[in-house]
């Protein structure tokens, strides 16, 4: 007799057998979590998984997948974030549960566009591949049986004249032809009675293909529930935040406010500003003006490095007056918006300094703009010339351009950091222009400077608390009060009507 897997899980939960629910450290995420969870857990799980996937993305470009350094770095990240990292760990229930739930939450956030789906799929595949390959052979067998990878139990009485044939037999599990299409078509594997007998060393290809197909379909299915997801008041702000989020210090509260003097800015712009801000500063000095996008991006950056409001007003006014703006006009117009961005006027959508993700993904520059990310938005030829003018060695330029071609803009900036600071390894994962500045200063000043005591407000709720404004949606403040509210009924988004 067969129980459906859902019935079995429910039964297990009721019986209190936690291990039955998650018998393996690895899973295909076929069934959405059916329990209720608190809003707090919902967010923190999602944010942690997002951190994990971003680490995986970075590792995947900086190291060859599967090498020891890749594996050890990934393992330490998994441990840090409390995800399952070792297949054998017996009492892994909490980690497995977190893994399960966080995966499904991110599905909601990342099903929303083709780009997001592709990104999510790629990172989840890498994560799965790593974890699958870490399994011992016997655990692998158990997992495959549990996952019911479309093979039926082949009775042992069936003769297999497979010994010595290409592609194994003798102990290889039979796999349905549909799951081994590439091996089947190319005759790379032994076929009998409609099954392919895949040797263990090829089995991960099959399993991964299977996983990719399943997840891809599931994402498409979830995307169909998009309208209802987006109108779900509990979720919409959280999920939007996740899919555009930068997860790390937001540089909204500075410890070193007032430690920078205006006279230092020119020198700092060459030594410690990331290319985007250096470019903006240069443009400001040259044309005594910046358009709105540039003012926002650069102005908030300056706030992040410690410029006070008074300094900012002085800085911008001095420059703009050199241009076509007279003092009066400045005080009436531009000054207001500077005060605004320091939180002294009205309400604002977001006035934390922009992260790399935000700069790269939103508000691309047009003719006459100088904001954006040069690695993303500049013509590669122009970028090359600019790097040459900064006396970057040709081999370095080539490396940077390669990364740009591979769409790794932040890595290109990291490379730029390494080349301009003459270090081999930047030592951190670049996510934010202010981070670039801080690290650069640390390096140049021998670490005397700032300690990383920034408010770690990857958490959406806390971020709102530290700002005086609220988002257009009213949920965040109310959700604050309902911190223990349970989220129910989400599994409807994951199932076919």
């Amino acid at each position: 007799m067969e129980f459906s897997s859902r019935a079995r899980l429910k039964h297990a939960r009721l019986a209190g057998d936690r291990r039955e629910q998650y018998p393996h450290s690895l899973q295909f995420y076929l069934e959405p979590p059916m329990e209720s969870i608190s809003l707090v857990e919902f967010e923190s799980f999602a944010v942690d998984r997002l951190k994990l996937l971003k680490v995986i993305e970075n590792l995947g470009v900086s190291h060859v997948r599967g090498t020891d350094v890749y594996k050890s770095k990934l393992e330490s990240e998994l441990r840090k974030l409390k995800f399952p990292y070792r297949a054998l760990a017996e009492d892994d229930y909490e980690a497995r549960r977190k893994d399960h739930i966080s995966h499904f939450i991110l599905r909601l956030a990342y099903c929303q566009s083709e780009d997001l789906r592709r990104w999510f799929l790629q990172q989840e595949m890498d994560l799965f591949r790593y974890r699958f390959n870490e399994l011992t052979e016997s655990l692998m067998q158990k997992f495959l049986e549990h996952a019911n990878l479309s093979f039926e139990a082949v009775s042992m009485a069936r003769e297999r004249d497979a010994a010595g044939e290409p592609g194994g037999g003798g102990g290889s599990p039979p796999v349905g032809l549909a799951d081994a299409v590439d091996l089947f078509r190319a005759r790379k594997v032994f076929i009998k009675d409609g099954f392919a007998y895949v040797p263990f060393k090829e089995i991960d290809v099959i399993v991964l293909n299977n996983y990719r197909t399943k997840l891809s379909k599931a994402l498409a299915l979830t995307a169909r529930s998009l309208p209802s997801i987006q109108s779900d008041e509990r979720l919409q702000p959280l999920l939007n935040h996740l899919s555009h989020s930068y997860v790390g210090p937001d540089y909204s509260i500075q410890k070193n406010t007032g430690k920078i003097s205006l006279e230092q800015i020119d020198a700092l712009s060459v030594k410690s500003f990331p290319l985007c801000m250096r470019q903006l500063h240069r443009a400001l000095r040259d044309s005594h003006h910046l358009r709105h996008g540039g003012r926002m991006q650069y102005g908030l950056f300056l706030k992040g490095i410690g410029l006070t409001l008074e300094q900012a007003l002085e800085f911008w006014k001095k420059e703009f007056i050199r241009g076509k703006v007279d003092a009066d006009k400045f005080d009436k117009g531009y000054a207001y918006s500077i005060r605004h961005s320091y939180g002294k006027e009205g309400r604002r959508t977001d006035y934390t300094p922009y992260s790399c993700m935000k700069i790269i993904m939103s508000n691309p520059p047009s003719q006459g703009d100088y904001h954006g990310c040069p690695f993303r938005h500049s013509d590669p030829e122009l970028l090359k010339q600019k790097l040459q003018s900064y006396k970057i060695p040709p081999s370095g330029i080539t490396q940077v351009l390669e990364l740009v071609k591979g769409v790794h803009y932040q890595l290109a900036c990291q490379k730029f950091f390494e080349l301009t600071h003459d270090v081999d390894d930047i030592g951190f994962s670049l996510n934010h222009p202010n981070q670039y500045f801080t690290e650069s200063q640390k390096l140049l000043n021998g670490g005397r400077e700032l300690k990383k005591e920034f408010n770690n407000s990857g958490n959406f709720q806390q971020k709102n608390n530290s700002q005086e404004s609220t988002n257009s949606s009213s949920t965040p403040t109310s959700s604050n009060a309902k911190a223990d509210t349970e989220l129910e009924g989400l599994e409807a988004y994951f199932t076919e009507d």
């Binding site: 590439d182 089947f184 009675d193 409609g194």
Partner: protein
């Protein structure tokens, strides 16, 4: 027996569809046990006189199909896929919503694809000498379908002129995606390359069991077909073609050999000796490569890949030859003679003869019964028998499956 004349078709087809076409088993086949509107969603296409072509025909029941066939008397019937909606209503469906859902996996093996390796005939012609290629093809592919792919229900059919078709009807296979069908064709393909390619078969070590099984089949026919029949080593210009496929450093000595058979022996022996010799690319399989290039089946991937591909129906008449597309009896495959397949003309003549003989017997029989028994009086009978066995095979498998499932559920 009068020869077939295409001009006679309009007169003969009504007789054919009334008294010869096996509507009964045909309808049972395509109903597949009456599952979920399968028959109603199936596309048929008819070709009428003057090449008028009607696509997206569909019918509510096998009886309705029978009535329509007898009304329209098409020159040719094609079978297409089972669609998401009734094909004859496809214009009422939202663009993109009308999609093929399932279809048999089909193969079409055409003698013209072998023109580069047969010297007796070319293009649409066939003879008893080259027909062996079809026999070899059926044996190789059928073995692979059954033993490797685990298929049970397949119907091999003579196309009516110069080739054979295969209809694979297992439930699971009918659901295969185009990608999986293409993969199956590739699995079954060894001869690659067009007019520009001289050496079309290249084997590398290790050799997959499928290839070894196929070589075993070819070996059974090779001497008779290739060496005697086609005489592939019989003259310098002929054996040049063979030598073009063999590595240069293995020169056959022609001196003592007098005919293709002897020459092949020498060549073969030499090649087998070198097989053990360590070479940069691994053992040499040139003898197998030659045999396969001359004999291995050549499939058209386009026929098999797409769900919406239309293929000539079994028991359809070939408008140019008049021959009926009859099922092949695998037990008697080697004895099959395409020139002995009944034409619509000969069948109608047989009916005339039979009627004048047996009129007294059927005095009390009702009309439909007499009609259904009619084909039994003709040379079509054994072919219909093969078809009925095929349909019965599927029906009994379905019964067995139902019993097994109800056992599992504890039903009574």
């Amino acid at each position: 027996m009068a020869p077939f004349e295409p001009a006679a078709l309009p007169e003969l087809l009504p007789v054919f569809y009334r008294r010869l076409f096996p509507h009964g088993p045909y309808g049972r086949w395509l109903s597949y046990g009456g599952v979920k509107n399968y028959f109603q969603l199936r596309e048929f296409s008819f070709t009428l006189r003057d090449d008028v072509y009607l696509r997206f025909q569909s019918f509510s029941s096998p009886q309705e199909l029978e009535r329509e066939l007898q009304k329209i008397n098409p020159y040719k019937i094609d079978i297409g896929a089972v669609y998401s909606h009734r094909p004859n209503q496809h214009n009422t469906v939202h663009l993109g919503a009308f999609q093929p859902q399932e279809k048999e996996l089909v193969f079409d093996i055409d003698m013209t694809d072998y023109d580069d390796v047969r010297s007796c005939c070319s293009s649409a012609d066939i003879c008893s000498k080259c027909w062996t290629l079809m026999t070899i093809a059926v044996r190789i592919i059928d073995r692979a379908l059954v033993e490797d792919l685990g298929v049970r229900h397949r119907l091999w059919v003579y196309s009516g002129r110069r080739g054979v078709h295969c209809w694979v009807c297992d439930d699971a296979v009918r659901k295969w995606s185009p990608a999986l069908r293409a993969a199956a064709v590739e699995y079954l393909s060894l001869v690659k390359g067009g007019a520009d390619t001289v050496k079309k078969v290249n084997l590398s070590h290790p050799v997959h069991p499928f290839i070894r099984h196929s070589v075993n089949v070819v070996e059974k026919y090779f001497e008779e077909y290739a060496l005697r029949g086609q005489d592939i080593l019989g003259s310098p210009e002929k054996w040049d073609k063979v030598l073009a496929l063999i590595p240069e450093d293995i020169l056959p000595c022609q001196g003592r050999a007098k005919d293709s058979v002897q020459r092949w022996e020498l060549l073969r022996a030499r090649l087998e000796r070198t097989r053990g010799r360590p070479a940069a690319q691994g053992p040499c399989y040139a003898d197998w490569e030659v045999m396969l290039q001359f004999c291995f089946p050549r499939l058209d991937i386009n026929v098999s890949k797409g769900l919406n591909h239309l293929l000539k129906s079994p028991f359809s008449v070939h408008p140019k030859t008049g021959r009926v597309s009859v099922p092949l009896d695998l037990q008697r495959l080697d004895q099959f003679d395409p020139f002995a397949v009944p034409t619509i003309t000969s069948l109608c003549q047989e009916l005339d003869t039979a009627n004048s003989d047996g009129e007294q017997e059927d005095g009390g029989a009702t009309e439909p019964k007499r009609r259904t028994r009619d084909y039994k009086k003709t040379s079509l009978a054994p072919y219909v028998r093969v078809f009925e066995q095929f349909v019965e095979g599927m029906e009994s498998a379905r019964r067995g499956e139902r019993i097994r499932r109800s056992d599992l559920q504890g039903d009574f």
